[in-house]
Symmetry: C2
Subunit: 341 residues, 2 copies
DNA sequence: TCGATGCATGCAATCGATTGCACGCTTCGG
DNA sequence: CCGAAGCGTGCAATCGATTGCATGCATCGA
């Protein structure tokens, strides 16, 4: 159990009485080294328990084969799905993935970005924090030509590939579904408007109303941070007003849940009296009573897509001519919170 | 946007007409350098946009300030909570965290372990895959004195700190609670018995029965992989038997949910007719109807604890005399699926 | 006034792998 | 028989930061 010294290519070279360069080339399967020599070297490496010092190689080659990922919270179903997708692609392509959470604060996000930069990650995938308004920490990357891919919460000010879910379409489909159920006064519990995903969800909602010839009513549109408590407050406010809604489209499932629980406590029937649709297809949405109609975002696929784009960019070195914004389809899942049987 | 060359300590040294060693020391706040010089250097570094090349430093110092984490699946609430805890502590201590998922296969786990090793992570935290039976890939680490901490699914054969939840106590408390509710025929839907966590949950169940003078009934104890379908099959089997139970303790919340849904479909009242207790406190367990009584495992705290122990070991270099197995308390959360009001 | 002391800084080696270029040997055509 | 060509290998520099040891300078007491 003693601390054995590392075996290096020099040790192998010495043992075989050849040069370290030959060993290095052989281990990298460089065809310039004869097959016989290559085999001999690999055998010796194996026997001597050689493990390449990747750090040394990274240092020399200026590549780390590592992708950095920053998400607001690891511990949230959508984000952990995205991470899972990233990890899957990255692993196949021989990249390690370093994951950090910004806890939705600008300070931490910025610090993490600097750390990842200093660690020379080959690329960065991120969804920005709610509080992030300045982007110097990201410009670092573009300045040094380090590929960057945004997902979900993207930033207009920076040129990069962006993977988003079709939030507009999701909001539209959800609202339209409510309209088709005969609802006329459809409220919306929306998210912070500095994040585009929430703008789009709301825009979809408004579009569906307009198409149906329904007047949008400012008093029915609320904004908050979409926590459990925010949702409860919002639904209370809606119900305390003069003219109560007959449906609520919530920008996430958490607030949809708050609404359902609050309404049930008040003895108001969901969906009979008020229909509810959420957003994100959180695992719980399927199993609560009533099950929550919601809009599914393909998190896993978004992660895969982001990783594919990033790795392609890393490998082709040149910055692409133009950056794409890829919109992944969202799917309305109709469940009992909005379906009157 | 041109690819600016990196600023190195040598550039700073040249600009200030001092040596690179002084720059290095100043930037590391080495008190041997006078305060005046330190300030001057830091100012210059700032102005020149200096970003340390951490890879070079890692190479030289043989430390990467990186912790590797291997979990079966990122995308599961318990594991993502643990990761979140690890990340929190690691971040504070200046460590990056590299996360990979084994997808519960030995092959991937082994490959990841080798990759992390070659990347010279300073330590490893892992929960082994269901399929892992051989441990050579982990012995690599112990041989090179690289600290290792297991959590949840631990390995007896390897000496290391281990963080586990009190599965025995959880099983015991859950069962005892059911007994206190007056239940006499308490079934158990258990998990794969090659994993110790499931052995312990069952042992706790048996212990509680025994203490209460209740005879354990083999026909009431089932084992499977605890998926949604497994749970449905299990509860069906229990209900189709001659002598049906009046309570079921499930080794996870997923099967508890299956049971509740199945029973509701059959018009059987939960908890009146049959009381249900699950395990893990999945987010959905609180919000389904009836809400599921369950045993909470402190995932986040387990992650924090694992990270603390690992980092301590990394910093003190010497392998500890003896390794601890830390059992984190589990907490019974009584909800409506088992509480007859 | 001189040597001792101590503080601040510089020199140079080092970590392990990679890689451009040079070199030596063999083979082959003219 | 000689030179060119080609193949396989080795030499040595390099990446950027760190660090043990040496050195220079100033201060101070005797």
């Amino acid at each position: 159990m003693s601390n054995q010294p590392e075996t290096t290519i020099h040790d192998i070279a010495r043992a075989l009485k050849i040069s370290a360069s030959t060993v290095s080339r052989a281990l990298n399967d460089n065809p310039i080294i004869s097959q016989a020599t290559r085999n001999k070297i690999k055998k010796a490496a194996e026997e001597m328990g050689y493990r390449p010092n990747v750090v040394a190689a990274n240092f020399r080659t200026k590549r780390t084969n590592t992708i950095g990922v920053i998400v607001p919270l690891i511990n949230r179903h959508f984000f952990s799905s995205v991470i899972s997708g990233i990890e899957e692609i990255a692993y196949e392509a021989g990249f390690a993935v370093t994951i950090s959470q910004s806890k939705d604060t600008f300070e931490k996000e910025s610090k993490i970005a600097h750390t990842l930069f200093s660690n020379r990650v080959d690329g960065l995938i991120l969804s920005i924090a709610m509080g992030t308004q300045s982007y110097d920490h990201l410009k670092l990357f573009s300045k040094r030509q380090i590929p960057l891919v945004f997902f979900d919460r993207v930033v207009d000010e920076i040129d990069a590939h962006k993977i988003v879910a079709d939030d507009f379409g999701g909001g539209y489909k959800a609202t339209r579904h409510l309209i088709e159920q005969g609802r006329k006064r459809i409220a919306m519990i929306g998210g912070p408007q500095n994040l585009k995903i929430y703008q789009y969800r709301q825009a979809g909602y408004l579009k569906a109303l307009e198409e149906a010839g329904l007047q949008a009513d400012e008093s029915l549109i609320l904004h908050n941070s979409l926590t459990r408590e925010d949702g409860t407050q919002a639904i209370r406010k809606l119900m305390d007003a003069a003219n109560i809604p007959d449906a609520v489209f919530c920008a996430n499932d958490t607030t949809a849940l708050s609404a359902i629980i609050y309404l049930q406590e008040k003895g108001i029937n969901v969906p009979q009296d008020i229909a509810i649709v959420g957003f994100s297809n959180e695992p719980f949405s399927e199993v609560v009573t009533p099950s929550i109609s919601t809009v599914k975002q393909p998190g896993f696929e978004m992660g895969k897509k982001a990783a594919v784009l990033l790795i392609r960019q890393i490998n082709q070195k040149e910055a692409p001519e133009n950056f794409e914004t890829i919109t992944m389809p969202t799917e309305l899942i109709i469940r009992n919170s909005s379906r009157v049987i």
